[in-house]
């Protein structure tokens, strides 16, 4: 073996590019050395550098090789794990000559090394699993043919709506017959819970703070437009962290679900705004868990807590805002959760549905059964493992949680056993439209028993071109350096994002999903009511999954 003479040993501290998740492909012949790529890289994974190149030249009729040294400028990827290339591709986006792009390296050993200083890898995004999810394997196989003619999705009148709120069992309706008709007879003061008619696809909880001002504003404007102009009653959840005070006091509040979570951030402002509210919110969501990071609390990194956020949340600037993993008041579900639901109901005079959101878990049915016995619980939102987050440990995102399909299904069937399937609506979330199939995933979950579905990651991808994907691309949401300006509070970054354009895209996404839902429901002969629990409409190409979901197997 050759001695290591003349070679500097790195004592195995230096990494080769092969260990990195993305390797920059830079083309010398195309690059005009403008420097845009290195300037825009959010993690400084590439840098301009100077190299000395040795050429052997020979001129004249007789070979006379001569060594020449040239000084040249190149773009180089650094091999520092703290500045790994996230594959976001912002460099490609700004390059005028298509001279640079990151390439996914499936052999990478990223997770082996991304723990410097004894700190586990933290990131944003969702579970890094690019496999086809159960939701995308579900097919709609009950097509109306001849015995019950299929409907014309373009011309037939469809009502794609759902109910959010506790629904009384028919036997308990306070009705009496007067003059041959039924009238409400509430002499006994029976509590008639508030119920909202909404669109079955909701925008899930993403906070002001986690999102940049133009992103949150864009979503909010899109939702208001859908309601006011398109008459599609889409609702959106605030996430934890309050809402802009002007919105709290506006008539548009009715399109928003306000979330309360374990940090209670923003609630001081909300409570103070209560006397000035002209509309009640669509609902109150009590967050007990999040599918992306079950059992973990919320976290807004200090670098994202700028003046606006600090004001809305009622906290000082530039401090880490950690929500505890559990509500400190939550001693037990029997007591504290019931009390919390009641307290929130009371704050709005029992005119607003209040429901908890939990992460997908094997214990979801225990929660469900408790809520089923609580007449004030308005729904249960279950967030599956493929849900997204702005910041969490990678291990929580990749390894913790429960897939939504079977979790939702077993909860629905549990309600069916008790005859309460129409009383307590189930909201399913986590990985809907992971591959872009929004309407199909939503319809499949509805047919498995969901009353509504909630989307988060998808709406950022579809409306603001979020780079994140299941190959750990980008996923910088936690750092405040979002190259798209979606999850940052840095004006230099978020000015890249146009809130009007986001709003336009929100409208386009929902209008397209509405058309696609009709294209699913029409051939199945459904147009008047949402086909909640119409499980005979579904099949899957895996026997074990079919058995677990209690649907048919088709191949």
């Amino acid at each position: 073996m050759e001695p290591a003479q003349g070679i500097r040993l790195d004592h195995n501290y230096q990494l080769s590019l092969r260990e990195f998740p993305y390797i920059i492909r830079w083309r010398d012949d195309r690059c005009k050395r403008c420097g845009r790529c290195t300037a825009v890289c959010p993690v400084k994974a590439i840098e301009p550098t100077v190299k000395v190149q040795r050429f052997v030249k020979s001129e004249g009729p007789v070979p006379t090789p001569t060594a020449v040294r040239n000084i040249t400028h190149v773009v180089e990827q650094v091999t520092d794990m703290e500045r790994y290339c996230t594959g976001c591709g912002t460099c490609t986006l700004v390059c005028p000559n298509e001279a640079i792009e990151p390439e996914f390296n499936p052999q990478n050993k990223f997770l082996h090394y991304k723990n410097k200083g004894g700190e586990g890898y933290k990131r944003g995004g969702r579970r890094n699993d690019p496999a086809i999810s159960t939701l995308d394997r579900l097919k709609f196989t009950r097509i109306s043919m001849l015995t019950d003619p299929a409907l014309d999705a373009g011309r037939h009148e469809f009502r794609v709506r759902t109910l959010l709120g506790r629904i009384l069992p028919p036997e308990e309706l306070p009705l009496k017959i007067t003059d041959g008709g039924l009238v409400v007879d509430n002499v006994n003061g029976k509590f008639i819970p508030p119920v909202r008619e909404i669109y079955p696809i909701m925008i899930g909880s993403m906070s002001v703070g986690a999102l940049s001002p133009p992103m949150w504003e864009g979503l909010a404007m899109g939702v208001a437009y859908l309601n006011e102009v398109e008459r599609i009653p889409v609702v959106m959840c605030s996430g934890e962290g309050g809402m802009p005070p002007r919105l709290l006091k506006s008539k548009y509040l009715k399109y928003f679900i306000i979330q309360i979570a374990s940090g209670y951030f923003g609630w001081d402002e909300i409570i103070h705004a209560l006397p000035y509210m002209v509309e009640a919110p669509a609902a109150i969501e009590i967050k007990y868990g999040q599918g992306a990071k079950p059992g973990d609390g919320g976290l807004l990194m200090a670098q994202k807590v700028l003046k606006l956020i600090a004001n809305i949340r009622g906290v000082p600037q530039f401090v880490d805002l950690a929500s505890p993993p559990t509500h400190q008041t939550k001693y037990s579900i029997e007591e504290a959760v019931a009390k919390m639901i009641q307290s929130m109901s009371m704050a709005w005079g029992f005119r607003v549905p209040v429901y908890p959101k939990i992460s997908g878990t094997k214990t979801a049915r225990a929660v469900l059964n408790n809520l089923a016995r609580n007449p004030y619980a308005a729904a249960l939102s279950i967030d599956g493992e493929d849900g997204g987050t702005g910041a969490a440990y990678n291990v929580s995102m990749d390894k913790m949680g429960h897939p939504i399909a079977s979790n939702l299904r077993e909860c629905y069937l549990d309600l069916v056993k008790q005859g309460k399937q129409n009383e307590l609506p189930l909201i399913a979330a986590g990985g809907i439209a992971k591959k872009g199939n929004l309407a199909a995933n939503a319809a499949a979950l509805i047919m498995l028993g969901a009353s509504a579905v909630s989307i988060g990651k998808y709406i950022m991808q579809a409306t603001a071109d979020c780079f994140g994907d299941e190959y750990n691309r980008c996923n910088l949401c936690n750092t405040g350096k979002c190259p798209r300006g979606i999850t940052t509070q840095d004006p230099k970054l978020y000015r890249r994002l146009d809130s009007d354009r986001v709003a336009e895209r929100v409208v386009e996404v929902f209008k397209a999903a509405d058309v696609e839902l009709r294209k699913i429901f029409a051939p199945m002969g459904r147009s008047t009511e949402l086909p909640i629990g119409m499980s005979d409409g579904l099949s899957i190409d895996d026997k074990a999954m079919a058995e677990r979901l209690e649907i048919s197997y088709a191949c």
Binding site: V184, Q418, N422, G525, D536
Partner: protein, 369 residues
């Protein structure tokens, strides 16, 4: 699509009238079965008005089991009717077709009708459970003044087979269905009309929302909500649930199975109640291209549609005799001498109700309430 022929009259008439009406609608049924439900019985049953009649089919072994069961539970046999079977090509005769009149067990005789109804239904269900695995006992109905006949075959041939043209079986309300089999297997319990505790209905069109409706009904904790060999059985049970269990007036059946849009509900004077009903009974919206013809215990007959039903049924007749048919040719056969201009083709908001004893007909409009 199944063909439906219902006739209601203030005079007793033969079920052959229904069968002949079905014959005119023959292109719409495929001979996969006939279901007949007779209410307000005449002929030999006229004297047993207050006593429950059990209708069904048994094998030779089954009848022994049935007798033993009924004895054990205190029912006393008062009268037996069996059709005089005439062998007809294409109809495979079973061992024993019957309509048997029983007297209630002694301790039930003075009980309220509600309790008697539950006893009769539970008895029917128990016998069904015993006889279904080996098909030794089929019981279609067990209720005062009601007979149900069901068999596989062409309706006209079955009429001949059962000797309905000569045995004097008569009633004032008769429902008949000529089956177009869409339930994958020909099975007697899948044949309309369906009957439960005085409520009866038959339907054509597929029930697209069958599974959620079935799950909702089965989770009501009412033992009679079972079976569902045909998706159409849910329509009968929704009728029973709405009127008997919830105590709603009949017209609310339409509001339950074909609910109005919120903007339409606002126009109704009972909008507050209707909004609650629509929410609480959301899973019972049939959302399919169906026509439903049914009757209630008081003898009122009705017809209604879902808006997706492209071709409406028809109701017509004269005072004292009305027919509710899936096709007009059936109506022409049943009541040829009528003012055709007064025939009613119910539209999506309409519920046509023919009052008891065929006194008259009215169209209830759902928008107006």
């Amino acid at each position: 699509m199944c063909r439906l022929a219902a006739i209601t009259s203030n005079k007793y008439f033969s079920p052959m009238e229904n069968i002949l009406a079905l014959e005119t609608m023959k292109e719409g049924h495929d001979g996969s079965g006939l279901g007949l439900t007779l209410k307000d019985l005449g002929g030999e049953f006229e004297e047993f008005k207050g006593y429950p009649v059990m209708s069904g089919i048994c094998s030779k072994e089954g009848i022994g089991v049935l007798d033993e069961f009924m004895d054990k539970h205190g029912f006393k046999l008062k009268h037996v009717w069996t059709p005089k079977i005439k062998k007809v090509k294409g109809v495979i005769p079973r061992d024993y077709y019957f309509a048997r009149v029983y007297d209630y067990p002694a301790h039930y005789r003075n009980k309220p009708m509600h309790e008697k109804e539950d006893l009769l239904m539970n008895t029917r269900l128990a016998l069904r459970k015993i006889g279904e695995p080996d098909e030794s006992i089929f019981v279609f109905s067990f209720y005062p003044d009601v007979i149900t006949l069901k068999e596989v075959g062409d309706p006209l041939q079955l009429g001949e087979f059962f000797g309905l043209d000569r045995n004097g079986l008569k009633a004032k309300v008769i429902f008949a269905q000529g089956r177009q089999n869409t339930n994958y297997q020909i099975y007697l319990y899948a044949c309309h009309p369906f009957f439960i505790q005085g409520f009866c209905s038959m339907t054509n069109g597929e029930n697209t929302a069958f599974v959620p409706i079935r799950e909702f009904l089965m989770s009501r904790g009412f033992p009679g909500y079972m079976g569902y060999n045909s998706d159409s059985e849910t329509f009968t049970h929704i009728l029973h649930y709405t009127v008997r269990q919830l105590g709603f007036p009949l017209t609310y059946y339409k509001d339950v199975i074909t609910p109005l849009k919120p903007s339409e509900i606002e126009q109704r004077k009972d909008s507050d109640a209707l909004r609650l009903i629509k929410q609480s009974l959301r899973p019972l919206c049939i959302d399919g291209p169906n026509v439903v013809i049914g009757y209630t215990p008081d003898g009122a007959c009705f017809m209604l549609h879902d808006s997706k039903k492209l071709r409406p049924g028809v109701v017509g007749g004269v005072k004292g005799k009305y027919a509710l048919m899936s096709e007009e040719c059936g109506l022409d056969s049943a009541i040829p001498k009528r003012d055709k201009s007064k025939d009613i083709f119910p539209m999506k908001y309409d519920m046509v109700i023919v009052s008891s004893q065929a006194e008259g007909v009215k169209v209830w409009n759902q928008l107006k309430g």
